[in-house]
Assembly symmetry: C2
Homo-oligomer: 233 residues x 2
């Protein structure tokens, strides 16, 4: 890890993201990031005045702009709010998949970064311009936010049994204790094409849930007193 250029705030943050992507958020230490830049830990403090919190906030900012870019690179069809919000959620998810540590990091910080507020503002604007009341849009923020952030934590994690050496007896005991779960996995595995590809396509699951929410929200919008607001305020 020899230094080829001088250390800058940008290079520090980029190294932090790279480290987190490669080895997880726990690997993002002052010494670890510094060594990626061919530098000692204490050198980072010249570029990140606010200690390590500043570094973590910087990681959030970087991912937030990455999401914003992914959003802006889309067709930008003016199809209606559902299509627009859907595209934004999918863009956010696609970026989160590249940085799976992001939801956990966001949850661990106490304040919200302006760049993240901007992402919400963007979705909120699309909904309000599309004819949603602020009340409904507010509820959508909660619903969509918790889904986008929660979905990265794959619940039934891949490689759950791990090194394939989970004892046979243990598996059978589990199957006995979890009859419905066992049957579900068997059923889904059977329906899936290639069993080696994993029994659960989480992208499909994500889109299903997203559409469930969006359909419900649109239905709620039509039920509400139809207040048209084309600009905030």
């Amino acid at each position: 890890m020899a230094a080829t250029k001088s250390v800058t705030r940008e290079r520090v943050l980029a190294a932090g993201v790279a480290l987190a992507d490669a080895d997880g958020l726990a690997a993002v230490t002052m010494r670890g990031v510094a060594s990626r830049l061919g530098v000692e830990a204490m050198s980072l403090y010249h570029h990140l005045p606010g200690k390590k919190e500043e570094l973590l906030d910087g990681l959030i900012d970087l991912v937030a702009v990455e999401i914003a870019q992914a959003v802006s690179e889309q067709p930008a069809a003016d199809d209606g709010w559902v299509t627009q919000v859907r595209a934004r959620c999918l863009a956010a998810r696609s970026v989160m998949l590249r940085h799976p540590w992001m939801p956990g990091l966001l949850g661990s910080r106490t304040t919200i970064r302006p760049a993240v507020f901007q992402l919400y503002e963007d979705v909120l604007g699309a909904m309000v311009r599309g004819g949603c009341t602020y009340r409904l849009a507010h509820r959508a923020m909660h619903a969509l936010g918790s889904m986008v952030l929660g979905f990265s934590q794959e619940l039934f994690s891949p490689g759950d049994a791990g090194d394939a050496e989970a004892s046979e007896a243990e598996m059978e005991a589990m199957a006995a204790a979890l009859p419905y779960t066992t049957a579900m996995v068997a059923s889904e595995l059977h329906d899936a094409g290639d069993p080696t590809l994993g029994w659960c396509d989480s992208q499909t699951e994500f889109e299903f849930t997203l559409d469930l929410l969006l359909d419900g929200l649109e239905r709620a919008r039509l039920t509400e007193a139809p207040v048209l607001r084309l600009s905030p305020g």
Copy 2:
């Protein structure tokens, strides 16, 4: 913190939960937990063979059984799967509110504890017995799971401005950059009864989202080929 009884695995885990509730998950250190029991850090290793990971797993187990208890203490009406699943999600949330560190802890572990599998099994069983296909139930697990776990992270956190000394200019700059968000907060604040109580009743928001999902799932169930399965397999 004088010891009155001998150290047991149960007392260690209980101390860990108490510490996490009081001072957050970061305060759950070997030395911290030990001192709560009037004991030194290394003494814990006799009762938790597997190092600190064992302690954290134990915290998850404790909360999981707390959720299971909350579920079992409910009326247990046989109203249909929507009612049953709804009650389970609300019970899980009520327990999580007492232990706000739980979602983050769950997300940070790589394997899933049997006690947590049991919670999913319970919901899954209710859905399948209620006439849902495994496919639909599987999707519901993802949707409901990500919501229950994601909702604890209050997105627009209370005390966001913090010590009320967030500079006026800063607030105005924020309002200018986030017109829709500003308008939303103003609108919701106006509609809410008591402005000092916070502008966002997250319990209401949670139930709204939950019902959105449950309504959507039930609608999907009715649309699907109605396969009746009263027992797993």
